[in-house]
């Protein structure tokens, strides 16, 4: 595993007037890591990414990229970054080739290497056949690919993608996700999204940002390991009283989802689903649905962004 630190974000804050969009965020990113930025809309994800990419200056704090300070040595720092903003920054009236060549020159790729870089980035993003097409005439999915191609044309150490799958159809989403996973093999990637399964499928590590603050910085594996309980939901035609379910060995809590549905949280070391199914058959509860829930990220996310912690933060800010 490569362990070289590529990016150090040191206590950055950003104010827009009196409004604090990003408050005191710090984290580091290793080379080759895929990092997911999660958070509800308006949480400060885009602002943080803009600061990383040098589009915005932080009101306080420092960002260093591959050892270069993002303010004092902004040119060198930006050489290591490829950025795809939420709306791909395309010139619709140009062809894909013209546009990508321009981007390559903007990133100071030497003349000799330019055509090689163009071919490489087109190939990686599946754009070989549309080089001569006008960007305006491409579908949204292809435009997104052109956006990604401009971000990787100079082989940056870090690729920053702001909600890369928004507005795409399900097939395009899968394709773009595959592309991102591929990118993760030889670039560091920072990816913002509010789609949790997306983060789960492509990221090594997630940061959850809520109201401008960093509320979680955890590897996905660790997130699964640290989970205090497992859960599944069942639907029963003739449900017993919840106490009866709660009385079973290993059950920690039972939540009534509606009249027929229950979520059962149980100790992680037991496979309780089978036991409950057997019991349901014996007692004639009319079991018709049993769904194991493994979405720990979603649990964590909801807990952190809507629960007590969120409220606490508001209080802190008021002080």
């Amino acid at each position: 595993m490569p362990t070289e630190t590529l990016i150090t974000v040191d206590h950055i804050s950003r104010y827009f007037g009196d409004h604090c969009a990003v408050s005191n965020i710090s984290f580091t990113l290793q080379r080759g890591e895929v990092l997911g930025f999660l958070g509800p809309n308006g949480a400060g994800k885009t602002t943080t990414m803009n600061i990383l990419c040098g589009v915005l200056a932080a009101s306080s704090g420092k960002v260093s990229i591959a050892g270069y300070d993002s303010v004092e040595a902004h040119s060198q720092a930006k050489m290591h970054i490829g950025y795809l903003p939420e709306r791909p920054p395309l010139y619709l009236d140009q062809t894909v080739d013209e546009y990508l060549l321009f981007c390559g020159r903007l990133r100071r790729i030497s003349k000799a290497k330019l055509s090689g870089a163009l071919l490489n980035s087109k190939q990686r993003c599946g754009l070989q056949d549309v080089g001569n097409r006008l960007i305006a005439n491409l579908s949204k999915g292809y435009q997104q690919r052109v956006g990604i191609a401009q971000a990787i044309i100079h082989s940056p150490s870090l690729v920053v993608l702001d909600e890369p799958t928004v507005g795409l159809d399900p097939i395009q989403i899968v394709e773009i996700r595959e592309l991102i996973s591929e990118l993760g093999e030889d670039h560091s990637v920072i990816l913002s999204t509010h789609i949790l399964p997306e983060a789960q499928s492509v990221c090594d590590r997630v940061l959850i940002i809520h109201e401008g603050k960093l509320v979680l910085d955890e590897h996905l594996n660790a997130l699964h390991k640290n989970k205090q309980h497992k859960s599944f939901s069942i639907a029963l035609n003739k449900p017993p009283v919840p106490e009866e379910l709660l009385a079973m060995e290993g059950v920690m809590s039972v939540i009534n989802l509606d009249r027929h549905r229950f979520r059962i949280n149980h100790q992680p070391d037991k496979n309780l689903a089978a036991t409950v199914a057997e019991k349901a058959v014996q007692a004639g509860w009319g079991l018709y649905e049993l769904i194991p829930e493994s979405n720990t990220l979603e649990d964590t996310f909801v807990q952190l962004t809507s629960g007590d912690i969120g409220n606490e933060q508001v209080d802190n800010k008021d002080i």
């Binding site: 040098g54 589009v55 902004h74 930006k78 709306r87 920054p89 401009q150």
Partner: protein, 247 residues
Amino acid sequence: MIFNIAFNELRRLFLSPLAWIILAIVQFLLAIFFFVLLSSYLEPGSAFRGRGLTEIVVVGMLQIAGLLLVLVCPFLSMRLFSEEQRSGSLLLLMSSPISVTEMVLGKYLGMILFLSILLLVIALMPFALLLGSKLDYGQLASGLTGLALLMSTFSAIGLFASTLTRQPAAAGVSAFAVIFLLWIIHIAGNTGNEQMTSVFSYLSMLRHYNNLLSGMFSSVDVIYYILLSSCFIVLSIWRLDAMRSHH
């Protein structure tokens, strides 16, 4: 890097119909005036009697060209940064390893390159007179220099206006307002005392242009335009820098 941005800007300008339409319309309108002025030279009325070909036809046409540019330049310059802000493509430039100065100068140069093409096409008409006559080269050169300086100043004002708003139309109108005000500001001095008159007439772009057209190549006039252009270019750089840090 400045040239990369400039040439890209120029290429994109020619991809849109705007550039072609502007070249065609300016040429068409000037050709009409050129023809009218040429006929009045051939059959001079009382107003034109005793004046030369250069003074009547060339200077007359360049005066009209200056006026046309007052109207045309804002249309061209309004897209420079406004459109990039609106479409989000400004983020491409902002996140690339280039400085704000390079970005602004590149855009400005792209605009200047296009206007040089326009200037070249405009200059072809007076040069066509050489087929049957002689021209006052000094006055012609001084006049064309004046037009070139006018173009660079208008572009700088338009450039700055386009950094202020993400709506191209708003940028165009504000650029037009500033250019028009500076064009005719000497009128404001007409009613004031002598000091006021001299100040306002010094500020007027039209006055300086007319000086150059009349063949009086004075460094004051040239410096005036260069100062004004640099001032607006610096303001644009500051403005874009401020977008990064304040907002």
